[in-house]
Amino acid sequence: MDEKTYNEIVSSENMVYTKTSLMTDKTLSYCPGCGHGTAHRIIMEVVDEMGLQENTIGIAPVGCSVLAYEFMNVDMQQAAHGRAPALATGIKRTWPNKIVFTYQGDGDLAAIGTAETIHACNRGENIIIFFINNGIYGMTGGQMAPTTLPGMKSSTSPYGRDVNMMGYPLKITELVAQLPGTYFVTRQAVHTPSNVRKTKKAVRMAFENQLNKKPGLSFIEIVSNCNSGWKMTPVQANQWMVDNMFPYYPLGDLKVDGVLTMK
């Protein structure tokens, strides 16, 4: 059997995809099937395509993506739990020409960091917040999150989220869309190629908003899965997300160019 060399296989005519150099070669720490890796890649592809590496500073949260700085090849800071928007404020206010983004999960952004989230949005900080919502605390082992659905099981709601006892899942994206300080608010997903394309378009719009100093904050929620925390296979998790998460957290733009589009 003929052994083909790499260069023979990957010739220019059959090269269909190149990994952006803005993703490092470090093996991702995420579970197979998790949406984080795709979300990371889309963001870094946009930074790469727009030539913004030298001007971009990212903030990693506490949660599964605490090590985002290991994978994203831009200057990065790691924040205390929930405080990423405050760090981003400190950076953007002192370096108004830099591009600043935070990357946060639901526990980080919508529980412990609610104040920082709301007030960064309300001040209209010219930054981007990426919000990965998988309805669970993944890193600490699957505890209930502010976005855990009613009846949904987690290690701290083992009989399902009882809204009378534990309160309701927080639609923080709908909430921040109402604030005059947000300029672009959208909810996307990355579980199919079509959704990846839509999300990437939204990510690009967010970076363009900041680059062009549009007045206000761009907020992108990505509804994602957590097959390990949900105790499902990756395929089951994606299907469960479509059947259960999307009805509560519907995909689409909530606010574009400072104008509310949500129903």
Binding site: Q53, E54, Y69, D75, Q77, A86, L87, T89, T94, I118
Partner: protein, 360 residues
């Protein structure tokens, strides 16, 4: 001689920051330090020097804004008073872990809890022993005059960048609120962005092709790596202890009895020395300027020269523990303090010396 102005301590700190080329202040109102934020907002330093000033939504947010700006090499600061400083402790621990420069002013009031809005020195342990979680130290400076509220901003930035370690100015409600004459040093211009990039090659200012990405984090999931980091921090603190001890002596040469104090208590004790001497008691004062590093070598030396020491502080007895550690039983060390916002008079401090030490 520089411009003279009559100012509150809190105002002198803010003016000191503008004139020290500080890049950003993030604050939150709390008595007795609100004049810091008020002074900044009235002065418009963004017009004078380009300095950023922002009222944050909480003390937690303010210290994390400092973290963000500091991690880009900027000179960032915040201020608060005791309950607010407790809230900042999370961020301060992260800054210490990530080795970030930054200045925090605590205009101490009485506690615990909401306590009182009146002056206190009961946050000594919090400031000097860590305060937040994990093994770390702040460099702690104790201004005892309005002039030092101005001057120590410059000193704090020199130290915080030299060691990449947060510096705390441990003031109190007396120093923050009282008015004194201040000589204002000429302004130092803020560094340009290019200066910052050049002077802080570790900072997250955006990754050029010429270097690897910079990462600011306090996280090490590998315990062996974390322990190595802990050792590195401890080595830094030892270096600070060897190099940065600062204190002032008042009539110590022939002193038989030594007051040890800092901040406003040192001002009171200085008067007490004069009163005691008029009564024929040979008293002296060791005024601590750095609380960490603590002047333990000098305290140990002085314990060979005096009969006894009296630690004077507005607390139940915190600094006195460090004095006793340094004295190591050589001479008696007593404590005199008021709490709850009560400020002792010089006469009380003299009486305490007479009763607790001389008559004791």
């Amino acid at each position: 001689m520089g411009e003279l102005r009559l100012m509150k301590g809190n105002e002198a700190f803010a003016e000191g920051a503008i004139r020290a080329g500080v890049d950003a202040y993030f604050g939150y109102p709390i008595t007795p330090q609100s004049e810091v934020l008020e002074y900044f907002m009235a002065e418009k330093p963004y017009e004078r020097t380009g300095m950023v000033v922002l009222q944050a939504e909480s003390e937690v947010a303010a210290i994390n804004m400092v973290y963000g700006a500091a991690a880009t090499g900027k000179r960032a600061m915040t201020s608060s008073s005791s309950p607010g400083v407790s809230l900042k402790m999370e961020g301060i621990s992260y800054m210490a872990g990530a080795e970030l420069p930054g200045v925090i002013l605590n205009v101490v009031r009485g506690g615990p809890g909401l306590g009182t809005i009146q002056p206190s020195q009961a946050d000594y342990f919090q400031a000097t022993k860590g305060g937040g979680h994990g093994d770390y130290r702040l460099i702690v400076l104790a201004p005892s005059s309005v002039q030092e509220m101005f001057d120590f901003v410059r000193l704090a930035y020199e130290l915080t960048f030299k060691y990449r370690n947060p510096v705390m100015l441990l003031s109190d409600g007396v120093i923050g609120q009282m008015m004194e004459k201040v000589e204002l040093a000429d302004p130092i211009p803020r560094r340009t962005d290019e200066d910052v990039v050049r002077e802080c090659p570790w900072a997250t200012t955006g990754k050029p092709a010429s270097r690897e990405r910079n990462i600011i984090t306090s996280l090490n999931l590998d315990s062996a790596v974390q322990e190595k980091h802990n050792h590195k921090l401890q080595e830094k603190y030892r270096k600070i202890e060897e190099t940065e001890v600062r204190f002032e002596e008042f009539q110590c040469n022939d002193a038989e009895y030594l007051y040890v104090a800092y901040g406003s208590s040192a001002r009171i004790a200085q008067k007490a020395v004069q009163i005691a001497r008029a009564k024929g008691i040979k008293a002296g004062l060791l005024r601590l300027i750095t609380l960490f590093p603590f002047p333990k070598t000098r305290v140990a030396e002085l314990s060979g020269k005096v009969k006894a020491m009296l630690a004077v502080e507005m607390s139940a007895g915190q600094m006195v523990e460090d004095v006793r550690l340094a004295v190591a039983g050589k001479v008696p060390v007593e404590h005199f303090g008021r709490m709850g916002g009560m400020v002792p008079s010089p006469e009380e401090v003299v009486t305490a010396l007479e009763k607790k030490i001389i008559g004791g």
